[in-house]
Symmetry: C2
Subunit: 186 residues, 2 copies
């Protein structure tokens, strides 16, 4: 599926108009896409939530996984809007009790994310929600984590895909036939 | 206002039944209240969101502030449900661009939270949403931050108040006449 055909032009325009470019963050030479103006505007935030909840419905998702921390801000309202359970995937050490962990490579070094495997059942179809698809490292680890927890991956839905970073090419093998839907490609 | 009279018994029972006690987290001797089973149960998560959105309506809030990171999971759906803008208050260094910061004391050392002041207007009434009220340090700093950004504080709404930690006594002077509403006191 391709967002270029599935996201209506007026929704794309509304969302884009509420995303702010911040130069040199988090490091010099990087143009950061700041979504806080979008979140602060209820019209845009509700429209974004509805669009992502629509993807949850089309993919037959039974649970929403949100990736810490901005993925929580988008994923949790989608879960409530679609009437689905929400499962946070957190950075290592942030979830209490028994967790399932998955490490992944960063440009320098590695990182690890964790989930409560007991919150995912074998008959769950899980849609992963995040704000941005960049290189796809965290999303790929989340997909692996969901499968290792015994659940099925319904897809990955993001507000924005940074197309020039190649995350889609990296993720498609991991997603297999599950769709990767981006409302905006920037 | 006192949650003991404003939260219906069946809602309290539903929410309590989905909160899991985890012993010795984050350190030995602490019994951690884990809300992930509640989030994974759509009936409970929707009921929680509705109850908090009801507080937003009763307090005349125009914006919701969520405190990183679990406050994002509760606050963002409340904003969407109530049709209000959402403003994240984050740990220092996590927000791009110009921020307003507020430091506060921890048991050992100190911490700092930040907000995009431009997302709060002088005529905004802001409800702060978080999962747990413990000692109240972060919530107090958030209240100070909102006032320094020029907005009014509509109140603080939490799922759970850990009554034995005395957060309410610490916060009431900072909140002045704004209500502190807890759905559960544990």
């Amino acid at each position: 599926m391709n967002d270029r055909t599935t996201t209506p032009t007026d929704l794309r325009k509304l969302l884009l108009s509420r995303i702010r470019d911040v130069a040199d963050y988090p490091e010099p030479g990087v143009m950061f896409k700041d979504i806080t103006p979008l979140l602060a505007d209820p019209e845009a935030f509700v429209a974004l939530t509805d669009a992502l909840a629509g993807i949850a419905e089309r993919t037959g998702a039974t649970k929403i996984v949100g990736l810490e921390a901005r993925g929580f801000i988008l994923g949790a309202p989608v879960a409530v809007r679609a009437g689905l359970g929400f499962v946070p995937v957190r950075k290592a050490g942030k979830l209490p009790g028994a967790t399932l962990g998955q490490s992944y490579d960063l440009e320098y070094g590695s990182a690890e994310i964790e989930v409560h495997a007991e919150d995912l059942a074998a008959d769950d179809r899980v849609l992963v929600v995040d704000d941005v698809l960049a290189t796809g490292g965290t999303a790929e680890a989340a997909v692996q984590l969901i499968r290792r927890a015994g659940a099925e991956v319904a897809g990955l839905a993001v507000l924005m895909e940074l197309g020039f970073l190649g995350g889609r090419a990296r993720l498609e093998p991991a997603l297999a036939d599950a769709p990767l839907e981006a409302l905006l490609i920037v």
